[in-house]
């Protein structure tokens, strides 16, 4: 399918139904088998893909419904990371995880996810990975001499996975680095780790930075000004940022610093159950268009929709798509 002007995309996760929450918790408590859980995940992913298609989203994901949360899914798969499986009761809690030696290389299993996703949609698809900086902030380091060294080694291991993804047909990869907002002083080495991660990865890479979305609430507050100018060194094609909840003031940073990136404009607030109307979405896009040309703008929610009820998540995506269409029509696209 041809991608239209102002493409719409999800940031990654889709609504996790309460019944899936229970199944995941029951799995942790050994009441559900791994095999049953995987089958349930497959069914839920298919439904999430369909929902995104029906809502009219141009670039879809698998809804990340297989993932407990953005950290544990990778901590469990990164070779050399040790997990205390008794350390959490709810699937969305974080495991106590630790690295005690140099990480060997190994598959993270994302290629299988990509293949499954592509089997069930004709649309452009996106795969998201948690960035090295965010992982370093949650996995206890008992080996590397610094957080930076740890992050760079995570990037080395994950870079191989991204290259495998590209070989398997991935065209859109997103790196999630919300912890930048909590630790702005880390940005120079955080960006270096992202650059190591995407080295030689021939795909459209977007870097998603928000203010956190754990339990559907922000972990930090502030202004994206902290990103500049350090972020300008990132070798990515797009920055995907949160504006729906926070307002569009920080879009001006794109005017002030003229970064070489496209902008993924967050237009719906995933921390509120109030559904934005298409005209509100359209107005947010128009505000951004005063600064960023349409050719360099895509439209997305502020972050993943995992904490929203399914009907709310669907309505927000549909409003996002309809609001974008209103603007496209004004642009004659």
């Amino acid at each position: 399918m041809r991608t239209p002007l102002l493409p719409t995309a999800v940031v990654g996760s889709y609504s996790i139904p309460s019944w899936l929450e229970r199944v995941k918790n029951d799995y942790l408590l050994r009441r559900v088998s791994r095999r049953d859980l995987e089958e349930i995940h497959d069914m839920a992913v298919k439904a999430a893909i369909k929902d995104q298609e029906v809502a009219g989203v141009d670039i879809v994901s698998d809804g990340e419904l297989r993932r407990d949360n953005m950290i544990d899914y990778f901590a469990e798969r990164l070779p050399g990371v040790q997990i205390d499986h008794a350390s959490k009761r709810f699937y969305y809690d974080f495991y106590d995880s630790v690295v005690r030696g140099r990480m060997p290389t190994g598959s993270l299993g994302l290629v299988e996810e990509l293949r499954f996703l592509r089997r069930f949609t004709e649309r452009r698809v996106k795969i998201s990975v948690t960035g090295p900086h965010s992982l370093v902030k949650r996995i206890r380091n008992e080996h590397y001499g610094s957080e930076e060294a740890f992050a760079l080694d995570i990037a080395r291991v994950m870079n191989l996975e991204l290259r495998e993804l590209v070989k398997a047909g991935a065209t859109d990869i997103q790196i999630d680095e919300p912890y930048y907002s909590g630790f702005p002083e880390d940005l120079p080495w955080g960006v270096a780790a992202v650059n190591a991660l995407v080295e030689g990865v021939a795909a459209w890479v977007s870097l998603h930075v928000c203010y956190g979305n754990r339990y559907g609430k922000p972990a930090w507050e502030g202004s994206y000004r902290y990103l500049f100018p350090a972020i300008l060194a990132a070798r990515v094609q797009q920055l995907t940022l949160e504006f729906g909840r926070r307002g569009e003031d920080d879009v001006r940073l794109f005017q002030e610093f003229d970064p070489p990136f496209h902008l993924g404009l967050g237009v719906v607030d995933v921390k509120s159950h109030d559904v934005e109307s298409p005209p509100v979405v359209a107005e947010r896009i128009r505000t951004a268009l005063a600064i960023v040309p349409a050719e360099r703008l895509s439209v997305n929610p502020d972050c993943g929709c995992l904490h929203l009820p399914r009907d709310v998540a669907f309505a927000k995506l549909a409003a996002m798509v309809e609001g974008t269409r209103l603007v496209r029509r004004e642009l004659g696209a």
Binding site: S18, F90, D93, F94, R214, Y215, E221, S272
Partner: protein, 482 residues
């Protein structure tokens, strides 16, 4: 028959032995229908509240959703109230009331039908008290804080206030160091009482800020929220020295977010003292794996109803209507204010609750407040003893859920109140409701709030209120879940 001894403190042995002896004597004498015994629970309680809504010995029948009787029945004894020499007689009456041929009860004058506790008349009395506080206090001849069991409110303890200010100042300084201090520093007090605490807090904060030269006080936006305008007026006068920093807001403690949605994720500190214990609750009972909702109806004992009616120049038949008028319009509706207030105080002093247990077919039938779902209740029941009666602190949970979205990512909520902090504690006594001078007080299910917090990204902790020896108050505080 199962006998539950629900209290472990000193002073129990004598009255408990008397009650148990009287009970066994009745059974041995064949004065108890043997069909009742297999499903009978007898609870020996020591009610903490000196004034409460219970008879010394009361009977609770279990019924299904249509009101048809089930086999489970309970007799509850308040060992503190029940005179040892008359407990046997009280047991006899209780057994008679449970039997299939029980005569109609004409000893009680009901003021309402059975209904869930949250909807009961006592909460309407509670609302009237806060709306007409001045009238009650004038008639009582003392302020409501002086009428508390301890004679004063823990809210105003200077050392506790100083520590609270120090914690807040430390939060500001840490955020400041990281360059993350917002321009406006919002703090919110919900349920303002006399305003004394807010005034103390502001005085202390101003002094500390000046002493450290941090310049936070001028940026402080201190919000006082309460649903009763007379209370807000009184509080505003108390904080007159800080008018530039203070705003008052009429708000429903059940949903602060509705009033303050424009401050979502912006409030750095929210504080409440003895608000949750004054919000409507329900009670659930689990017996033999089955869940029951407690329903209650307010009544007056016949002799007291007659006395109150006579004093007010009414007939007993006119009492129910008069109480309705009082609750709807206020004391003025009963002729003149003094007469109306006297009637109000008499009814309040005499009102009692009769209870029954209504079986719930499923957890989904439990009356959960907005913001809670079945999974919260499941979490709670998973940690609860098998046989338990506990509060579903609806008002507290609703208020809690609707306050959290106001908190800045680094902000925190602090609540001084009487909390049951684990479900196990419910095995060790009846936790309310109790009767204060004009208002309702009930322990708050802290374990429920902890379960709710866990699913919204907050860890909920409890610390004893260490500032007054013997205080039963705890301090709930939230931390962001790591």
């Amino acid at each position: 028959m199962i006998v539950h001894v629900n209290h472990l403190d000193k002073g129990l042995a004598g009255p408990a032995a008397e009650a148990l002896g009287a009970l066994l004597d009745l059974i041995e004498a064949g004065r108890v229908d043997p069909r009742l015994l297999p499903a009978l629970r007898v609870h020996l309680d020591w009610i903490q509240y000196r004034a409460n809504f219970r008879e010394p010995v009361s009977v609770r029948r279990a019924v299904d959703a249509r009101g048809e009787p089930l086999t489970l029945a309970e007799i509850a004894v308040d060992l503190r109230q029940a005179p040892p020499e008359r407990v046997g007689e009280a047991f006899s009456r209780a057994f008679a009331a449970l039997g299939p041929d029980a005569p109609p009860d004409d000893e009680r004058f009901p003021l309402e039908p059975f209904r869930p506790v949250r909807e009961g008349l006592i909460w309407q009395f509670n609302r009237l008290f806060w709306q007409r506080l001045d009238q009650w206090e004038a008639a009582a001849g003392r302020g409501f804080e002086q009428a508390l069991p301890s004679g004063r409110s823990d809210a105003n303890h200077p050392e506790a206030v100083a520590d609270s200010v120090a914690d807040f100042w430390t939060l500001l300084r840490d955020a400041d160091k990281r360059g993350q201090l917002p321009a406006d520093l919002f703090a919110l007090e919900i349920g303002v009482g006399s305003g004394t605490r807010a005034a103390l807090w502001l005085d202390r904060f101003k002094a500390l800020d000046e002493e450290r030269g941090t310049g936070y006080y001028p940026r402080l936006r201190f919000l006082l929220g309460d649903y009763a305008q007379p209370t807000l007026d009184r509080a505003l006068a108390a904080v007159a020295a800080h008018r530039e920093q203070v705003s008052v807001l009429a708000m429903d403690a059940l949903n602060p977010f509705r009033t303050l949605s424009f401050l979502r994720y912006k409030v750095l500190f929210v504080h409440l003292t003895n608000v949750y214990d004054n919000l409507a609750h329900d009670e659930l009972v689990r017996r033999d794996g089955r869940l029951y909702l407690v329903e209650a109806r307010a009544h007056l004992r016949r002799d007291e109803a007659e006395r109150i009616a006579q004093d007010a120049g009414l007939t007993v038949g006119g009492l129910e209507r008069a109480v309705g008028l009082l609750l709807e319009v206020g004391p003025d509706a009963l002729g003149d204010r003094a007469r109306g207030t006297a009637f109000w105080r008499s009814v309040w002093a005499a009102v009692r609750l009769e209870e029954r247990l209504v079986a719930l077919d499923d957890l989904v039938d439990a009356p959960l407040p907005a913001g809670l779902d079945q999974s919260h209740l499941e979490d709670l029941l998973a940690e609860a003893p098998a046989d338990v009666r506990f509060h579903l602190s609806r008002g507290a949970a609703e208020s809690f859920v609707n306050t959290l979205p106001l908190l800045h990512p680094r902000g925190y909520l602090q609540v001084q109140d009487i909390f049951v902090t684990t479900m196990d504690e419910y095995r060790q006594g009846f936790r309310g409701p109790g009767k204060l001078d004009g208002s309702v007080v009930t322990w708050v299910n802290g374990a429920l709030l902890r379960a709710v917090g866990a699913r919204t990204g907050y860890d909920v902790h409890f610390a004893p209120f260490r500032y007054r020896p013997g205080s039963r108050t705890s301090i709930l505080y939230t931390t962001q879940r790591d």
